[in-house]
């Protein structure tokens, strides 16, 4: 075990996988000398050189399509997005091509490809650099969608993503890069997709939270505990596949559920999770499933306004109290 910041943990996994498998290579903007704006590719150019550390022009659609062509022909590209908001520039290649070619070509095409980068609030980047994009990729069949909330999960999930033979959207959070956690040294440390993690056990209410919202849910749970309400906090870790079994087992125990994410509440993944909870746990529910997500506005620049849009600790605390009718 070694204590690592998320960026370092992810960087180490990429380097280890590049050492292990010559078909793994990285592509993206500012990933060579700069090592990525958030340092996730730092130093790779020194070890692997420009042949396998492909610094691209600012041509998101072009380099996603290029990575796809490489993936179809035996390579395993790890595509770096500086901001996942920029995936919107490459949506045809992502949604129509990367996600669909295997199916459309009758299963002959294999697309082992990771698309990774960061998203979310925390730096005052406003509406085109602070949003959460996971919903789009959950909706189109073909992707796996991964959202680690800490360095340990990030390392284990990224290695699984790189070794997976499917396109994986690997969604990091800019505000989490500064957090550190123990990460195993094992170069084969992997966390299987579709296994949620119970971050905190509790008997009164289940809080399902993703990415940055996990730590906020844990903070809300502590506050609730001081009032005698024991919340169980679950991090799905992967949205596709989604471990509904772990979530449902918890809700059947607690009878109450709050689902919280940073992406817009409207038509967000929380609606899907909430619906699946209703379908699997209806007889056990003592209250309607509560959903929290960003209010339906563009992410504003002002810190005060940004905080007003995205769920905070108090919002989660209030929602949990509400479903407990206290």
């Amino acid at each position: 075990m070694a204590v690592k910041k998320i960026a370092v943990a992810l960087r180490d996994v990429i380097a280890e996988e590049m050492r292990r498998d010559e078909s793994v290579f990285v592509m993206g903007e500012d990933i060579a000398k700069q090592g990525g704006v958030f340092g996730v590719t730092r130093g790779l150019i020194d070890e692997f050189g420009p042949k396998r550390v492909r610094e691209t022009p600012i041509s998101e659609a072009g380099y996603v399509g290029t990575a796809l062509g490489a993936a179809l022909t035996g390579m395993r590209p790890v595509v770096d997005f500086m901001y996942l908001d920029f995936t919107y520039v490459a949506m045809d290649q992502l949604l129509n091509q990367v996600a669909k070619l295997r199916y459309m070509y009758g299963g002959k095409a294999t697309v082992p490809m990771v698309i990774r980068g960061q998203q979310g609030i925390g730096r005052g980047n406003a509406g085109t650099h602070s949003q959460s994009v996971e919903t789009f990729f959950c909706h189109i069949p073909g992707f796996k969608v991964v959202m680690p909330s800490n360095a340990y999960d990030g390392a284990g999930l990224l290695r699984t993503a790189i070794r997976d033979n499917n396109p994986v959207m690997f969604i990091e959070h800019k505000a989490l890069y500064i957090t550190s956690e123990d990460v195993p040294d094992d170069p084969d440390f992997m966390i299987p997709f579709g296994q949620a993690k119970v971050r905190r056990e509790g008997s009164d209410v289940t809080i399902v939270a993703t990415s940055l919202m996990v730590s906020r849910a844990e903070e809300a749970a502590q506050k609730l505990a001081s009032e005698g309400i024991e919340a169980e906090v679950i991090d799905p870790r992967t949205l596709l596949p989604l471990d509904i079994d772990t979530i449902a087992a918890s809700v059947k125990k607690t009878g109450r559920a709050v689902v919280v994410h940073e992406a817009h509440k409207n038509a967000g993944i929380g609606a899907e999770i909430g619906s699946q909870i209703s379908e699997t746990c209806f007889p056990y529910l003592d209250a309607p499933v509560s959903r929290l997500g960003a209010k339906p506005s563009t992410l504003p620049f002002s810190l005060v306004l940004e905080n007003a849009v995205v769920p905070g600790v108090d919002d989660i605390y209030d929602a949990a109290k509400a479903v407990c009718y206290t």
């Binding site: 022009p57 062509g69 295997r102 459309m104 009758g106 002959k108």
Partner: protein, 321 residues
Amino acid sequence: MNKDMKLKIHETMLTIRKFEEKALSLFEQNKLRGSVHLSIGQEAVAATVGAYLRPEDYITSTHRGHGHSLAKGARPDRAMAELMGKETGYCKGRGGSMHIADLEQGNLGANAIVGAGIPHAVGAALSAQIRETDQVAVTFFGDGAANQGIFHESLNIAAIWNLPVIFIVENNQYAMTVAAKDVTSVEDIATRSVAYNMPGEVVDGNDVTAVDKAFSKALKRAKEGKGPTLIEAKTYRWEGHWTGDPQVYRSKKEINQWKEKDPILRWEKKLLEEGILSQEQIDAKHAEVDQVIEDAVTFAMESAEPDPATVLDNVYYEEAT
């Protein structure tokens, strides 16, 4: 070009022509559904390029891609089965006319989003470069695709990394119903190569010899590690954009003028002149290909529909259990 290649090009052109004439006829009889985009009149480009490519070389293609697939080694029977949505088709009926792919033969697929297949060939060329093989990637696209951003991004990426990829724009004069000249900033799309620091060449796309000359040069360049080339083949689609297109945007006279430049008749004339084929041999080849296409239709008609229970197969790669 040796004699075998010359004969191969003739046979491939005939196969494409007769395959598509049959597809048109089947569509008109309501035996095909969806969209069927025909490349009748454009066969020289695909057939000539295909004669040079090995199975390990790559192509990407377009919604008008039957010809490219057949030229890259696709079997007419499995291609026809795909047009009919059958389980024996190249994509097991999941892709249809616009998405024939045969990865084992280096055909990375036809693509129904205009221009979308271009970067996939760039990526295949990147893959070849990283793996240090002598494989080459060719991407076919139309004049319409040359106005997509992805065309420009792809040429730039190919040029900065000096990739073994050949861009072939088949300028068939119309982007659906709009004349290419009305929506394109340049007379010759090949001149856009200048912006991306690569050679660009305009050729008569209805003349096998002209396509051959330009393509063999580009192929040599790619294999020698000298980078990409943009070739513009001026050609013409005889049929509408889609089967059933009323073609209000062009005149019968124009169509007939281009039919006089039939790439197949021109090539047959040349093969006759060179003494490579006699008229009897040409007639025999036509009959032979007619039979191949008839057999393909029979195979496709008799093939099973996909099983609805398999509709979720291949959304994801699954490890064998």
